[in-house]
Point group: C2
Amino acid sequence: MSEKDSKKDILDTATKLFVKHGKNGVSTCDIAHAAGVNKALIFYYYGSKEKLYAAAFKNLIQTFFYEIREKINNSEPGLPAIEVFIRNHITIIKENQNMMKMLVRELLLTENGQSFPLNESADIFKSLRYEMIKVLSDAREKGEIRYVDPVQTMVSIISLDVFYFLGKPLVQMINPTIDIEDFESNRVDHIIDLLMNGLRKDQE
Amino acid sequence: MSEKDSKKDILDTATKLFVKHGKNGVSTCDIAHAAGVNKALIFYYYGSKEKLYAAAFKNLIQTFFYEIREKINNSEPGLPAIEVFIRNHITIIKENQNMMKMLVRELLLTENGQSFPLNESADIFKSLRYEMIKVLSDAREKGEIRYVDPVQTMVSIISLDVFYFLGKPLVQMINPTIDIEDFESNRVDHIIDLLMNGLRKDQE
DNA sequence: GGTTAATTTAACCATTTGATAAAACACAGA
DNA sequence: TCTGTGTTTTATCAAATGGTTAAATTAACC
């Protein structure tokens, strides 16, 4: 009873540490120690640090993906679908800041568009793109928004939703008196407001 | 004659390497080798790797700051000042992608808002904040835009301007057939379009 | 109990890491 | 020429790194 699943322990611990300190900021010793296992076990199960990192990366992306897919198609009646979509998107980003940080880290390491862990997860991203763009073109057909380039708009929505969580330390540093809880909860409404105004049909 | 300024050589080389591979992705040996100096010289001039990194960081931020301050106040007649501002902002970000990447890297390492290199450059960021917000409140007074929270809006503008350069590898991966040059030059107009529509006064 | 395979461990290795101390160099001015 | 000062190199260090190996332990099945 109560057997411990060392393989999973290693992956979970590694994920946590990689998210916090980046691929190069963590050693296999750190991981082994934090996971309470012997260092050799890491290589026994995952072969190399690189592969462990890729596994942790994919693990995180996949979890995120299933979550976002589930929520994004949950349209509520009454509100414009596009607004629900954006609201859900930012909520999920907020709940998956770790995944976002890891993704951005990997993007920073990417050169010439080549990254092993990113390529491993390419399919996930592609199907995500497909679903996001569908939401946008549906909204356009329904007359909820004016015509805009869907890819550009997708990038804009992601930018607005994601970037604050990266820049948060900076926002705090620059505005020492700010009530950060307040700012954060206003952020969602601000983004919705900006986007809905920016995308709405001209009413003339 | 033609004495070589080793101290500056080290800083410049280190900056380049740190930008590319991150703080933990570069060793002092790498830097010394690339700069064509002895490794011990790095410690002679900068004391530690950490201090060298902080110096490189500040160096980059400062350069960026002077550039942006100069351009941002260059209002052209005819166009709304706010549009000129956004256009200049994205241009400068585009020209300083390295600085942006280094900044984001540092933000990712920041915990509890504490980061030595970031704190070292706090004043720069604060005065930048002041000037950006002034542009926004001026635009509001002139009736160019409706009332919006200036800090939220500042964060949104920065998000839109910066994030694409981080996500570029992903955009390329997800849209294999995309003409990236095209997409990039359209990006500016898309952002302007989205923001000007999102911020404009209601005309009813 | 014995056999076998999966899991876990301790001990070890070569290399690289950040950092130091001391020696060598260059070049002033006295 | 001697001396002092700022610069650069050589040599070296202990610690940490990613990774390996072989032995020990455990679990499972016959």
